[in-house]
Amino acid sequence: MSEIISRMKDLPSAHLLGAGTPMCSGCGGLEALHQIYDVLGENTVFVNAAGCMTLLSVYPFTPFRGSWLYTAMASAPAGAQGVRDALDLLIQQGRLPPEEDLQVVVLTGDGSAYGMGMSATSGAMDRGLDFIYICYDNEGYGNTGQQYSSATPHGAATATSGGTGGFPGYKKDLFSIWAAHQPSYVATVIASEPLDLAKKIAKARDMSGPRMIIALSPCPTGWDYDPRESVAIGKLAVKTGVWPLKEYENGTVTHTRIPRERPAVEEYLKTQGRFSHLFRPQRNEALLTEIQQRVDRYWAQAQ
């Protein structure tokens, strides 16, 4: 499983993840997981925290060909620690042949990654745990009805930020927080850019140590748009510069895509009901300008 991925036609077409899950149609997180699973393969054990993806494996069915362990909202990385250490011990003691080894993959939402699970994640990185962390970031507590989390972008309306200005806080910079731990690898991905995603996941797969992935996950239910728009919205997130595609390795951050001519961020915002209050009943010029300026400032510093 270490084939080189450099062009679209190199993308695996295995479709390992089964169909018929209870996820919403157009779920950007599920689309990312499909692609990630095809690259990682079935010799994996997914260690999951509470969130939408918890409902992938509902007794007695699972879409995974490999293994799965649901833990709790706060401690999936600690579950990964236990599984990894146990596999190492079993192999060391000759009780498990090395070919029976598994890639240990944490799978959580943003609520867990940016918030409740952050100290467990930090601890796992401190300990140099050999694992992959996949955070599907739908920018809110999706499973409980899309209340705001610390991944919610400024101005977004959520079930708990329905006022005129939407969410008053700012999306936390998890990429930098993770990178500050100096793990083996950190990357942002999105399902609407499958080649970029597959390259990064393949790279992560072939490394060891903590490998940390954040997948922005357009969420028709939480972001309020037609499920068929998921890919288009994902592409706009990248084009407008809202979701920078980048990676961290050996102390250096590299952007894997630099959008030269960025369309206005409002092209992205106006596709989603959660931002409709910025446009109707009248344009919230101040807030739109602030959001645009923040994106501009990011890219000015990035280059």
């Binding site: 007794y59 709790a72 600690a78 236990g82 250490d85 146990a86 079993l90 467990a120 401190d126 300990r127």
Partner: protein
């Protein structure tokens, strides 16, 4: 083997070492730290094979412990008090996974007020979690119970995590003579862990701990766990009998001390039960027919064994080193529930709360509890629960309060005028 002097904590560590544990997820908390430091030193020096990892919290520690057990290795961990409560979500979770491993809890009173010394509110907060519970009264029992706990946890009719409880300070830091089983004998009693199908491997994909939708599958798994815990009574009795025949120490689910012809008995758990044993001897010398009944196994609750041990007993003085706010003693409530409706049960249960946060229970207090219970038997009526606290104690506390107040008034010129 000749006895050596060991603290309760060292005895717990020896239990883990003799059990041949593979993996020790850890997090420090007083009064448990000596356990993980001891194991850490043995692992570092190579005296003991295996791996220890210090997590960043007890919540994570329990998650890692359950996950490693679910992957197929033998796991040991230890905590206390705030740590146990911090991990509470995971206690229920890993028990639901049916992950067999052993967790030592060194009992310590719960915050607030924050304190270091022992009572049983911590371990009793976990009583409904699915963890089985073995309670120790001396350091010898600690090492023995850890070995018994692995046999119990890993038994295919049980498959549940087991907590072994010892009291902070009174056992954790107290040296007592302990006979350590030799390694070969311990291995014979406790062979290596066979995880069966509970493991992760590439050729045998598993989904563990998956969600259920609806009350029916949920109830199914919850009942299975309960029934497994019920199985643990007879399994425990069987392995305790085997333990006794190998090592010569009686470790049954319930200790009955001088209960045979007793009119009344003390009923309690933990290290203070040895104070009760003393009191029983003194009362016997004075011609009072008193005994002590002490469940070692508190989960599952050995109701039948307790009930038959109480046949002919007329009154039970339940001494609770815990307090369920607004209700009273947990042991008292549970004993009443276990005995109610049995024609043969003692007519009188008296309830005493004492020993909170390590407060001493004096011999005179045991004598008094016995007298109260004898009187209740004579009168045919159980008195209201009593909170053990002496007038002297109250006076001393009031004195301290007034000293502190006077200090404050002297050092702050504005005195009481300061808002």
């Amino acid at each position: 083997m000749e006895p050596i002097l060991l603290t309760g904590n060292a005895a717990a560590a020896w239990g883990a070492r003799l059990a041949g544990v593979d993996y020790v997820p850890a997090f420090p908390i007083t009064p448990q730290t000596e356990i993980i430091e001891t194991l850490g030193a043995w692992l570092d020096s190579g005296a003991m094979p295996g791996r220890m990892v210090t997590l960043e919290s007890e919540h994570s520690m329990l998650t890692a412990a359950g996950a490693a057990a679910a992957t197929g290795v033998r796991v040991f961990s230890a905590t206390s008090s705030q740590g146990l409560l911090h991990a509470m979500e995971m206690l229920y979770t890993v028990a639901g996974w049916r992950a067999p491993f052993v967790l030592v809890n060194v009992s310590r009173g719960l915050s607030a007020p924050i304190t270091l010394e022992a009572d049983h509110n911590d371990v009793l907060a976990a009583r409904d979690s699915g963890f089985l519970q073995i309670h120790c009264t001396d350091c010898q029992e600690v090492v023995d119970s850890v070995l018994l706990a692995y046999r119990l946890a890993e038994d295919t009719a049980v498959r549940l995590p087991v907590m072994v409880n010892l009291d902070g300070f009174y056992l954790s830091f107290t040296r007592e003579p302990v006979r350590l089983p030799d390694l070969a004998a311990a291995r014979e009693f406790l062979p290596p862990f066979d995880p069966g199908s509970m493991r992760f491997a590439a050729s045998a994909p598993q989904s563990q701990a998956v969600a259920v939708l609806g009350g029916s599958p949920y109830s199914y798994f919850r009942y299975e766990t309960h029934l497994a815990a019920r199985n643990a009574i007879s399994v425990y009795q069987r392995i305790a009998a085997e333990f006794e025949s190998r090592f010569g120490r009686e470790r049954g689910a319930v200790e009955a001390y001088r209960c045979d012809d007793a009119d009344i008995v003390f009923f309690m758990i933990g290290s203070f039960a040895s104070k009760a044993r003393e009191a029983v001897d003194r009362l016997r010398e004075a011609g009072r027919r008193v005994g002590l009944l002490r469940p070692r196994l508190l989960r599952p609750y050995p109701a039948e064994i307790i009930a038959s041990a109480l046949l002919g007993v007329r009154g039970v003085a339940v001494v609770d080193q815990n307090i369920s706010m607004g209700q009273g003693g947990v042991l008292h409530t549970e004993l009443a529930a276990a005995l109610y409706g049995r024609g043969s049960a003692p007519a009188i249960l008296t309830s005493f709360i004492g020993g909170l946060g390590g407060r001493e229970i004096a011999p005179q207090e045991f004598f008094e509890m016995a007298e109260v219970t004898f009187r209740a038997v004579d009168e045919g009526r159980s008195p209201p629960p009593r909170l053990l606290y002496t007038e002297t104690e109250l006076r001393e506390l009031r004195k301290l309060q007034s000293v502190a107040l006077a200090e404050r008034e002297q050092t702050s010129p504005a005195g009481r005028a300061t808002p």
